[in-house]
């Protein structure tokens, strides 16, 4: 793992604006910085722009204006062929999981490693281990269509963390699981955070945020981001 010294900014937004096409700005003058090794909740009502902000953070979108600095690289000045290397340092848990239906749970989780050219022997060793850890040891060969919502979510989380990312972005990761599994996933994120991974969890589950209130919060409303401590 290539974790940075704790405290240095891993991601920084300066006056970032985002609009889709010719529509109104969904994000306006967003300015914040996340120190390396931090754990933040991203809260806000539905439609406030949480997912758009996360998409900017995982380089799924380019801002309409402003500056995004990720791992000390100004994204506007980064060549397109250099972006995959940055994306490999980011783990993403998508709200709709985005598992590949034609693949088994094991192949879904192995995907980030295969993309990086990791040897099959390594994949064989680590992927079943991680799937066991999230309670899916008996579902290695299961297709997503045969898994429950919670199981899919755990596969999605395993896929996001298998590459031991520097930055983990999770969009409503506990939305489809019961409280017990939600707590277990949150503890997994905290464990990863203790190992140095910077975590951002987008959620509108106020109860969850209260339970882990020791973590700071970014709140987004009407496209504007504020910091709540």
């Amino acid at each position: 793992m290539r974790h940075r010294p704790r405290g240095e900014d891993i991601i920084r937004f300066d006056s970032v604006g985002l609009r889709y096409g010719l529509g109104p700005e969904v994000l306006q003058d967003v300015t914040f910085a996340l120190p390396s090794g931090s754990f933040h909740f991203l809260t806000g009502p539905s439609g406030a722009g949480k997912s758009s902000l996360l998409r900017l953070m995982y380089l799924g979108l380019r801002p309409t204006r402003g500056r995004v600095v990720l791992f000390d690289r100004d994204i506007a000045n980064t060549k397109r062929y250099e972006l995959p290397a940055l994306r490999r340092r980011i783990g993403v848990v998508f709200q709709d999981f985005r598992l590949l239906d034609h693949m088994t749970a094991l192949d879904n989780v192995a995907l980030p490693l295969r993309v990086r050219g990791v040897r099959e022997s390594e994949i064989r060793k680590h992927v079943p281990e991680l799937l066991s850890w999230v309670g899916l040891a008996d579902h290695l060969g299961a297709r997503p269509s045969t898994l429950s919502g919670g199981q899919k979510q755990r596969v999605a989380i395993a896929r996001a963390v298998i590459g031991r990312p520097d930055l983990l972005l999770a969009d409503e990761p506990t939305g489809n699981v019961d409280d017990h599994i939600a707590m277990r996933l949150m503890y997994l994120f905290e464990e990863l955070n203790k190992l140095g991974t910077t975590i951002v969890v987008a959620t509108h589950n106020e109860g969850l945020v209260e339970r882990f209130a020791h973590n700071p919060r970014l709140h987004i409303e009407h496209g504007m981001v504020s910091r709540v401590t």
Partner: protein
């Protein structure tokens, strides 16, 4: 360990393109094989004609009129043979008698009984040393002075027109092959874009987890190659019997105008390479198409 068998991340095998692309490539390879074989056959014919007529001249003696026409014509032929034998570089001179001349006309006219009594020009076949530099103009004048109405033909005019026609047909074959390649490429572009649209969600996931464009492009290219090679082999499998049948039909032609239309070894090599070329073209086109489309993603 079937769980870990090597597979494509994209489920391209079930796409509609997997069904139609091989047949399209098969058709294209079939047409390209016809064009390539045609070009080689024409090239072989040109060489054969060129070889046959180079080193030969034909003297045409106009038959004499009057009461003793036959004897006078024979005398003209004898004089013409003498003149030609004295030309340096001439190796052999052979006059065709009337019977032989009629035999030459038979394939074109059928029954020659009705032209037996007509005043047919007499032909003299002259073999010359191919390396000898003969002033044909001077020889023709000398001949015309010695024998009224005699003319000399070195076949060059006839051959050059034939060669021009053949070359045009060869270029046409090349244009046909290029057009076939363009149509194949355009189809692969369409098929690849359709495949990308169908699998957009998967491509986006691969993109966001850090796959390089070429990682995704390679999967489409590999698929296009395997479909192209399958289609190409099918096309070649259809073309070979068709060419064999054409060759067999040509051999049955009378008159010896098409002495042989057999393919040279190089022709067979070119035909064997067609499926590989088609597959390579499909692979390259798919790869470039994917790169072009992905370049529009952030």
């Amino acid at each position: 360990m079937m769980l870990f068998r090597r597979r494509s991340d994209l489920p391209l095998a079930g796409d509609a393109t997997s069904r139609f692309l091989p047949w399209l490539v098969a058709l294209m390879v079939f047409l390209a094989a016809m064009a390539v074989a045609g070009a080689f056959v024409i090239s072989g014919l040109m060489e054969r004609w060129d070889r046959d007529v180079s080193g030969t001249l034909t003297v045409q003696v106009i038959p004499a009129g009057g009461d003793h026409a036959e004897a006078a014509t024979e005398e003209r032929v004898r004089v013409a043979v003498e003149v030609m034998r004295k030309v340096p570089g001439v190796l052999a001179v052979k006059a065709f008698d009337k019977k032989r001349t009629l035999a030459l006309l038979e394939p074109w006219l059928g029954n020659t009984d009705m032209v037996q009594d007509m005043p047919l020009p007499r032909l003299i076949d002259v073999t010359v040393d191919s390396d000898a530099r003969i002033d044909l103009g001077e020889v023709a004048s000398r001949l015309a002075r010695a024998v009224p109405g005699a003319s000399l033909d070195d076949h060059r005019v006839w051959l050059s027109r034939l060669i021009n026609l053949s070359r045009t047909m060869q270029w046409l074959a090349v244009v046909v092959v290029v057009l076939i390649g363009a149509v194949t490429s355009a189809t692969v572009v369409y098929a690849t874009r359709t495949g990308m649209a169908v699998h957009h969600g998967i491509i986006e996931v691969l993109h966001l987890i850090g796959a390089h464009d070429d990682y995704i492009a390679r999967q489409f290219a590999d698929r296009a190659f395997s479909l192209g090679i399958a289609g190409g082999l099918m096309g070649l499998g259809l073309a070979l019997p068709a060419l064999t049948a054409l060759g067999w039909a040509a051999k049955r032609l009378e008159g010896g105008f098409l002495p042989s239309i057999g393919l040279p070894v190089l022709g067979y090599v070119a035909l064997a390479l067609l499926p590989l070329l088609a597959a390579g073209l499909a692979m390259l086109t798919a790869r470039l198409t994917v790169h072009g489309t992905l370049a529009r993603m952030p």
